[in-house]
Symmetry: C3
Subunit: 205 residues, 3 copies
């Protein structure tokens, strides 16, 4: 278990907790909450793997299901305290996002896809889990209205291939790309940076 | 056409009718009702096959589309009577569930996946069709709040591999696993067994 | 770039604009609107390719993402004027539909699937993008209640294989099939042809 694995599982934990807490706000039962947590954590990577036409990553390694179980247990036991840990969880979530994006890019690049597909796959890895979660709890995905969550993923992808163009080492490239995702996301949240909305006088039905 | 095929198609019929009746409660047109019925019946197995990276089962055998057509026809012709047959349909539905779970497990096991993946695939085969149905009719999936539907599938999976561990024959293993799903489901409905819900004072947004 | 490519991209443009305008009616931000436009345009073909177990078409050719970007730009710049162009867009949309259906059929037939699968895949190519769009904006898919949109796709598929049975040339077959989709769709909209709805006194739930 190396550093990447640890970050990967911390990120999974944070993503799962975010899903479980949304489910608990809607009085889902334990099983429903577990599924929402799991889908939030693995939905992005699963979508990526289906598009890349490979076996989804969590079918080769049971730890993602176990970590989601731990996230459920933690929410059940320490609900109040987890609430107080909100900032820590946000940090895990953001660090996890950075790593997920890099993992998505590297996996797609290793499969021989062009740069623009890899950036897209990194973004999908980081953001589609939350979209599926929102569809399942019957809400319009936050992604479409919120701060520049997905654009942080795209920024990380651009930095990744910028570093590669400069022939930096794989480790440095990965770290700088993940850091870019994390910093853009943190800055967007801190300074309430948002994209303009499309306003329209036109009701189209 | 052997016993398995007959049960498979009765289950498909019952799943399809359940979807069509939900669609008709929302005044969908015939085509919409057909699609909802079809998705309810084949959505779980399709998700499983996509995750297993094989061609979906219904693309190799048109009978699932025909059975769904029959389900639509039956609902159009005998709407009242089908209502009175509710108990029979519930039975078909539950027997179908038992079979779907076993089929899902066997197909995944045959593809070389480990036990925990197979149990998960059995559960997905049995329950994801209803989830997609609920997403399409714009409701929060019943699965996340209802009786222990999905856990009946998991129970069947555990029995399946318990029997296999005991080196029972394939036929006995399949029958006992399917029976477990059916009995757990029937008991859960009869005695209103439910999982606890996650309650939360925390509104998270 | 031949005639097929031009129609393909005009259709993509029209599908994307329809998604972007729905997103703008809900005050999505630019990114959200782009994603909804993209999903509307490529969702059907992506679903088809996943079911056929091949790499999604847009991962091999960036022009679909660019055309969606142009659609967003055009909506931002000429919102009012695009409104006035509604009839032109409807025409693009319908011509695009005709082509998408034929492309879906041909791709599935080339992959060796039987006729009924190909007709289904043509229909999926033409209509699933709109379904995913509606799920993401949290509405019951129009497809299930509207005019005979999907049946126009099925009609095109029947004509396709009718022509093939008559041993007409590939070009003539494609053109006649696409024209059938277009004409059935135009006729259905003009004369308000709709399928009957399934009415039900039975509340099931």
């Amino acid at each position: 278990m190396n550093v990447t694995d640890i970050i990967d599982h911390l990120g999974t934990f944070a993503f799962a907790v975010s899903g479980i807490r949304m489910a608990s706000a809607r009085n889902f039962d334990w099983f429903g909450a577990y599924v929402i947590g799991l889908v939030t954590a693995i939905g992005g990577g699963t979508t990526r793997d289906i598009l890349l036409n490979v076996t989804p990553f969590w079918m080769q390694e049971p730890s993602y299901l176990l970590v989601t179980g731990l996230a459920l247990l933690a929410t059940l036991l320490f609900n109040e305290k987890i609430y107080r840990l909100q900032k820590t969880l946000f940090l895990f979530d953001t660090i996890g996002l950075g790593l997920f994006v890099v993992v998505g890019i590297e996996k797609s690049f290793g499969a021989g896809f062009p740069v623009w597909v890899c950036i897209l796959m990194g973004t999908i890895t980081g953001s589609v889990g939350g979209v599926i979660r929102d569809v399942l709890i019957n809400e319009i995905p936050l992604l479409f209205r919120r701060d520049i969550y997905a654009l942080a993923c795209v920024a990380g992808g651009l930095v990744f291939f910028g570093c590669q163009y400069l022939a930096l080492s794989t480790a440095v490239t990965s770290i700088l790309a993940a850091l870019s995702v994390i910093l853009v996301r943190l800055a967007a949240v801190k300074y309430h940076i948002q994209l303009p909305t499309l306003k329209s006088d036109i009701s189209n039905k």
